[in-house]
Symmetry: C2
Subunit: 551 residues, 2 copies
């Protein structure tokens, strides 16, 4: 019996398998022949005056291909490929070509932040078997960049030889199914350095995630230094070392843009703002009051939204931050207002009585003020779903983008109101779920959104569930999110990667979950080679044997 | 209202709080005065011929105190303490004293591996307020080491001053409630380098965990190079770079011993041994057979225990490893035998028929052979609970130590059979639980031992639940465990720490869960200062405000 069984397993291992590209292109024709990379390999650009950030991307691509040193994830690694090295051709050149229809080449960072409905991320790629030049072609430098990220993922190293086993390869007009593919990081519950963020952007680039949703402030800390309002970070950052200067923000934005990533900053208001009370206690209701009564989590405190002074202050803060950012979108939050807090807050009740307005009517005015300030800067506002589904907001502009987070079931109701949505459902995409209760003295508490969201669970998300065909265009895409009550720099990479790659593929194209795992192993191992501490998905024994550890 | 509420919170923050020592000593009298550390601080030894590893421990202690640079976890960090710096006394000397009853000082590494029932870990510590010498006294160098680890945890840094706010402090005869306080690491599902293990040992030392249970092999890989059986690692390690040489093993054992830690190696048999089939296919039943039918997880394969050749081979392998180790204990595993596999294995059935024995009778002979080899080397065998509760083993020696893992409820049944136990229950102490299903194509599967075991859950474990007073002496202690199907070097620190400190305190003394959290934050932040990437338990806002984020 053992010999017989061994034969079966060997046969399984021999199934041609495991194209490494993530997300999988929407159109792809690949062979299974070996093509080696020349020691003199270079990337040339077929147009004049290429922008500096494209030149930099070329340099990074060449560096990554030389330095990934990733062996194939098969038993023996590249040993079985090496027998064909002698007869394989060698690739000397990759050409980057802008399509004739393209106008003067713009920087990648410019193309990466144009409005979502006009962003052009498409590219084509050909890698011939005969050693003649490979070509990436696109209408935009952003498309060329995506072609480079695909090209990078073709290459393995064995015994000093860099090669692909997917030649010849042709990808025609690959482009994302959805314009918004994001990752959200909360830098307020716990702080993350600029270098932590840059490392995250590196990983995002590799899997073509194009939006960094930066949930930069919350009730626990205010790490962003706003030049016009220095008191906010002085009183609200955990420490001077745990705050972002204007230059830090620009550094992140530039780094992201060069990698094709738009930065959507969120300053969550009027809830999730207790920390503003550290510098402006008069603006905050329930400030440091009993959190069990007045907040979803400690500490309690939210802006006195019925106060025009507070609305104007908030609008000024948002504008001060937004005006420094190239993105067309900016999030004002709007989730989890605690009505019990406002009901108990004397000043709020006094102002509501004086104006004869309900709390939500006052919220409408507050939102009109803050969103008006953003609109004056040419920004499109982004909000969480309660603004539409719970607070009956009437002044939201039609172009407002709504993040659906409470449940994937809520998406349909938002699009029925005519708003564009980004899928961010806790039941599929919350990366923090499953780590248990973090409130101090609750010995047996589980995470509120237990269980842990596996990559498989996220991967099964259907962006169009319950969405009518007429409303499909309202679905902009989606994102996975890390709330950081129980996370910090220490586990950033391992809690995010490779899981956050799931939605990157869901919103680019649609794969098959059994086919996906070997490719996800591949991108994980490649991330580790690049210093991103992505977590193991299986024992290495399984990673080396595609499909053998399926159920 | 806001002013009133602020006053309450400030009052809470002012509660004297948060002695940082972990595990909390069983006898402790501490003040709340400031004592500074002299720039000339030194540790002296009051006896002749101190062993080199004690001298090295002194050097490390001085280094840690100088370099931890940990600020107190209170709002303002040490600012409120600094007003007392001017009038505070300065500690110049800590004396290490062996009690008069002590014989010639032994190396720590020697004291750390004596039999559990004779190990002496006790120490006393006094730190006077007046700047006169502090004293650690103990019967053994191992006790002195524990005194140093307690002493290290007293010190904070603020604005260049190193100080404690717990002076005067007196600890009389602190010693562990249980002799065995362990941490288990599985280095077979995924591989961990010697430096990963050493970093783990550093963290274990800090919280006085005294046993490293090294689950070194399993069905997926055989990373240990056994000199007499080189084929095992040659065929069974993931790669030559992912295996432990004899010198690596000795390096770990030495490093552990110097830190008061015994190394209990486990070579799990006769199950969990598929990888032996890579070099000895004739010894393994169901080798690489369908895992769903024949194994708990991929790959299938377990030793043909009814074959005397296999039993002798196994005994020789165990002895070859055990004879190189100073520990008195060695684990032969014995969990999760798959009876369906043996029932389907022709050679096993043939041998059972020839001998007229049942499978478990054959297991008894197998165990007698393997344990006999260990006994001949003076080693005490350790097994998993099934050996006693499921397989009706009759040849186990009375001194065998049994690890209870399936459920905490099983402990009572094992002690009722008269065996000594180590608590390792999956429902309290499995650090891997809650990460979801890892089998490839199971989109919605949860971890079998879901949910995640929080530090709080582990901390509530009662070592004596359902244990009669007459059987208390059979409870040796317990350990938290990391099985590594979904873990690797990338998340080792963050999945283990600070959670594994829970059992370190449960088995040293018994604390109070609400009181424990601030101390656990403290040891976590101290670990991070030492390069151990322990995970956040709460937002930093909560870490700085003891009890304010309780429910």
């Amino acid at each position: 019996m053992p010999l017989f069984i061994t034969a079966i397993v060997l046969a399984l291992s021999a199934i041609p398998c495991c194209l490494s590209i993530w997300p999988i292109p929407r159109s792809l024709d690949s062979g299974n022949q070996i093509l080696k990379l020349s020691g003199l390999f270079d990337i040339s650009i077929n147009f004049t005056n290429p922008p500096q950030d494209l030149l930099d991307a070329v340099t990074r691509t060449k560096y990554s291909i030389q330095n990934d040193q990733l062996e194939r994830l098969i038993v023996g690694r590249g040993l079985s490929d090496s027998t064909a090295f002698g007869s394989a051709k060698t690739l000397r050149t990759l050409v980057l070509a802008l399509e004739q229809s393209a106008s003067t080449a713009q920087p990648i960072a410019t193309e990466a932040v144009v409005a979502l409905d006009t962003r052009d991320e498409g590219y084509s790629l050909s890698v011939p078997l005969d050693g003649s030049a490979g070509v990436v072609s696109a209408n935009t430098t952003l498309g060329l960049l995506h072609g480079l990220s695909t090209f990078e993922q073709l290459w393995y190293t064995y015994d000093g030889t860099i090669y692909t086993n997917y030649a010849p390869l042709t990808i025609v007009n690959d482009s994302p199914a959805y314009a918004y593919r994001g990752f959200m990081l909360d830098t307020a519950r716990n702080f993350f350095s600029v270098s932590d963020i840059k490392r995250t952007l590196d990983a995002m680039y590799l899997v073509k995630i194009n939006t960094f949703h930066w949930h930069i402030t919350d009730s626990q800390s205010w790490p962003i230094q706003v030049v016009q309002f220095p008191e906010l970070a002085q009183a609200g950052a955990y420490s001077a070392n745990q705050s972002y200067t204007s230059s830090d923000i620009q550094d992140v934005v530039t780094y992201a843009g060069e990698r094709g990533i738009d930065v959507q900053v969120e300053i969550d208001t009027p809830g999730h703002t207790a920390i503003i009370g550290a510098s402006h206690p008069e603006y905050v209701a329930c400030y440091l009051s009993d959190w069990i009564t007045f907040a979803g989590e400690p500490p309690a405190g939210q802006l006195r939204l019925a106060d025009a002074k507070v609305a104007n202050f908030t609008a000024a803060v948002l504008a001060a931050v937004a005006e420094t950012l190239p993105s067309t979108i900016f999030s004002t939050g709007g989730d989890e207002l605690d009505t019990a807090c406002y009901a108990a807050d004397g000043p709020t009740q006094m102002m509501l009585n004086e104006s004869g307005k309900t709390l939500f009517e006052a919220l409408d005015i507050f939102t009109s003020t803050t969103h008006g300030a953003l609109h004056a800067l040419g920004k499109t506002a982004v909000v969480w779903e309660e603004m539409v589904l719970e607070y009956n907001t009437t002044t939201l502009r039609n172009d407002t983008i709504v993040m659906v987070w409470i449940s994937s079931d809520d998406a349909a109701a938002v699009v029925q109101k005519g708003y564009r949505i980004v899928h961010a459902p806790s039941n599929y995409f919350y990366l923090d779920c499953g780590a248990g209760e973090w409130i101090g003295n609750d010995p047996t508490g589980n995470s509120w959104c237990d269980p842990f969201k596996t990559w498989q669970e996220s991967y099964t998300f259907n962006p169009l569930a319950n969405i009518s065909s007429a409303q499909v265009s309202l679905v902009l895409g989606g994102e996975q999110l890390l709330w950081t009550e129980q996370s910090g720099p220490e586990n950033l990479d391992s809690i995010v990667w490779p899981r956050a790659a799931s939605s990157a593929e869901v919103f680019w194209t649609v794969g098959n979950i059994s086919e996906a795992l070997p490719r996800l192993h591949d991108v994980r191992y490649r991330m580790v080679q690049r210093g991103i501490k992505a977590i193991r998905l299986q024992p290495e024994w399984c990673a080396l044997r595609p499909q053998v550890c399926d159920g």
